[in-house]
Symmetry: C2
Subunit: 168 residues, 2 copies
DNA sequence: TATTTTAGTCAACGTGATTGACCAAACCGT
DNA sequence: ACGGTTTGGTCAATCACGTTGACTAAAATA
């Protein structure tokens, strides 16, 4: 229990329950529940090592493959950071590197069969989770929520630098 | 530009635009825009070093102060992690440590005047940002969005381990 | 009083990000 | 065709944030 300090009067702090504080917390909570539920289910389906970050990377690699530099640009991080993340996903057998036959500098990053499996399962699970929201809130409310978020956020961003962005 | 690999056919990947994929992205985007706008404005108002993480810590410390251990429990991280974060905020003059007169083991963590200023400005800015959403969407839609998120997320969570949670 | 619990710190380590430096391959202008 | 510039990948150093384990000192308890 907090022991109030007798020497100084308590300063006036803003009410933690004010609406301005709650809105971002609710958005983060929504994101986290979805991602947590996804990865709990993915772990059950044979992908326990997949982290939230990894899912976004797999999706960014996609069907055509990319390079570390392109990946970094797409995800908003440096090419070195993207390269390191690719290294880890290669070690986990989600990605593979192959030489680009057209450009000896480039190393194409591609999904392995295991990575493709994880991506497909993620898609199915995400759809199921959204259906759960629809069941709880109604299709209209979910659609409204999505529309509204699209309205107030800059179009189409997809940045992966969450850890660094959030912390420092 | 992506150079397609001629040796293997492109694997079938799920459509990145499917609704299940978009929902979490929209929630994250909403959270990020709010926090980004907040910190852009905070930087303008004399708090350029404040990071998203820091704001949550300041709020958790609040009027009464805490200890590193309590902070860790409240934010869902270890006491050591909480202590390190406090160290950084002490170095930035947002927090101070004082000895607890009732318990020589405890070191109370309190807001400095500078920290209190940052917290107050955050509250005002957050309320303004929410008002901007109300102006764009209507008060009813924003309230519906908040209600819906409350419905589908576990009550009242407030965990600070975002970097580690997201990455690994 | 002796033992256990609790608060805080130190150390070692893992992960993700950064910047700067560097090499080799590709591109391009003369 | 050659030589300078751009580009892709990697290495190294540094920082932020998290973890667990070990340790000290003070408080609580039996």
């Amino acid at each position: 229990m907090a022991t109030p300090d007798p020497q100084t009067p308590e300063p006036q702090t803003p009410d933690p329950q004010r609406p301005g504080f709650l809105l971002p917390l609710l958005l983060l909570a929504g994101f986290r529940t979805l991602i947590d539920d996804l990865h709990a289910e993915l772990a059950r389906q044979g992908h326990p090592e997949l982290r939230p970050l990894h899912g976004f990377v797999l999706q960014a690699v996609g069907a055509t493959g990319t390079t570390a530099t392109e990946l970094g640009q797409q995800l908003g991080v440096s090419k070195q950071a993207a390269g390191k993340t690719v290294d880890r996903l290669v070690a986990l057998d989600y990605l593979e590197r192959v030489d680009d036959p057209h450009d000896a500098r480039r190393k194409l990053v591609r999904l392995t069969p295991h990575g493709l499996d994880g991506l497909h399962r993620s898609a199915v699970i995400f759809d199921e989770l959204r259906q759960r929201w629809v069941a709880a809130l109604g299709a209209e409310r979910v659609a409204a929520l999505e529309d509204d978020l699209r309205t107030v956020t800059p179009a189409n961003w997809f940045r992966l630098d969450v850890p660094g962005w959030f912390a420092s």
